[in-house]
């Protein structure tokens, strides 16, 4: 129960931050919806952790629901890092093109 409460507070903190970012218009609508779904899902997992535990057992997994959530979270983080890396490569390419144009302009 205490663990669920702590997790709830942490998620609530991130939701507030998300709403704040949305108010300041520092994130796009799509990003806001994505992260809203993400954190609401996290709350649902925390609230219905016992029910998810039973589903996990029925599906034949030996680990508990919280372990499964962690595995999925790690996989998700890997995916995010990968996507960010690709984005950085593209930004680097744009910077190179821009720097080259400046080089020729100065010539």
């Amino acid at each position: 129960m205490i663990q669920q409460l702590i997790a709830g507070i942490v998620i609530f903190f991130f939701l507030l931050k998300l709403l704040n970012q949305w108010k300041k218009k520092t994130i796009s609508a799509n990003e806001f919806i994505f992260w809203l779904i993400f954190w609401v899902s996290a709350i649902l997992i925390v609230v219905f952790i016992k029910q998810i535990d039973q589903i996990v057992i029925k599906l034949g997994f030996s680990s508990s629901a919280i372990n499964l959530v962690f595995y999925l979270a790690v996989l998700f983080l890997f995916y995010l890092i990968f996507k960010m890396r690709l984005k950085i490569v593209k930004i680097e390419k744009n910077i190179t093109d821009l720097a080259r144009q400046i080089t020729f302009l100065k010539k």
Partner: protein
């Protein structure tokens, strides 16, 4: 035939003036690309007043591959027929430029690559020769179908039409593999010629090899 020699320079205040002096005797245009050096390279280059020498300054440090592409773009724009890639650290000999452009002029080759492993033997550091280079060779052969004796040699010459085709996208050190991979992919007429390389200090480190592999991988999946 108008020959341009592209020299990327990053913190080469000790070598750049001598290299330019040697190279300009052999080619029609020397294109020096200062890759945002933090030493006096920029000042030295800005004092040069010679129509045969074009000096370009990158506003930020982009890497050797990017500097070569900038030089290629400039050479193509200025009507050069052959583009030579040359290092500013005095590892290559300027007189070898004649040898490297000759197969393009006389035998109509598309791209000519310098090799340290043909008749002329360079004094390559043992670790580099016996560990780094064989691994690089196997990697290049396996993943990019590159079948040359010295895939990591930066001394090369190509026709301008080839430079237009081979756009260097790897800004840093992975450009060597990229150029060769594209040359083989496009089925270009390739020749290797022996060149001498002088080792003033230990060049590419083992960790640098991994960085090249990482850069190539990222570039491949981001395209």
């Amino acid at each position: 035939m108008k020959i341009a020699c592209v020299i990327p320079a990053y913190n080469e205040e000790k070598n750049i003036a001598k290299i330019i002096e040697q190279v300009k005797q052999i080619v029609d245009l020397v294109v020096v690309v200062n890759d945002h050096s933090s030493d006096k390279t920029k000042e030295i280059l800005d004092n040069i007043n010679d129509l045969k020498i074009a000096v370009l300054h990158h506003p930020i440090n982009l890497g050797q591959g990017a500097a070569l592409q900038t030089g290629n773009d400039y050479s193509i724009k200025h009507g050069c027929d052959i583009i030579v890639h040359f290092d500013a650290d005095r590892q290559f000999l300027a007189e070898d430029i004649r040898k490297i452009v000759s197969p393009i002029i006389e035998e109509n080759y598309d791209i000519v690559l310098g090799s340290r492993f043909m008749e002329i033997k360079s004094e390559i550091p043992k670790f580099k020769k016996n560990i780094i280079m064989p691994i690089a060779k196997i990697f290049n052969r396996l993943f990019f179908n590159i079948k040359t004796s010295d895939p990591q040699n930066g001394f090369r010459a190509m026709k301008s039409s080839v430079a237009e085709k081979i756009k260097i996208e790897n800004d840093r050190m992975a450009h060597c593999t990229e150029i060769l991979a594209k040359a083989f992919k496009y089925g270009l007429k390739i020749k290797e010629v022996p060149v001498k390389v002088l080792y003033t200090e230990f060049g590419q480190k083992f960790s640098g090899g991994f960085k090249i592999i990482k850069d190539l991988f990222l570039k491949k999946i981001s395209n």
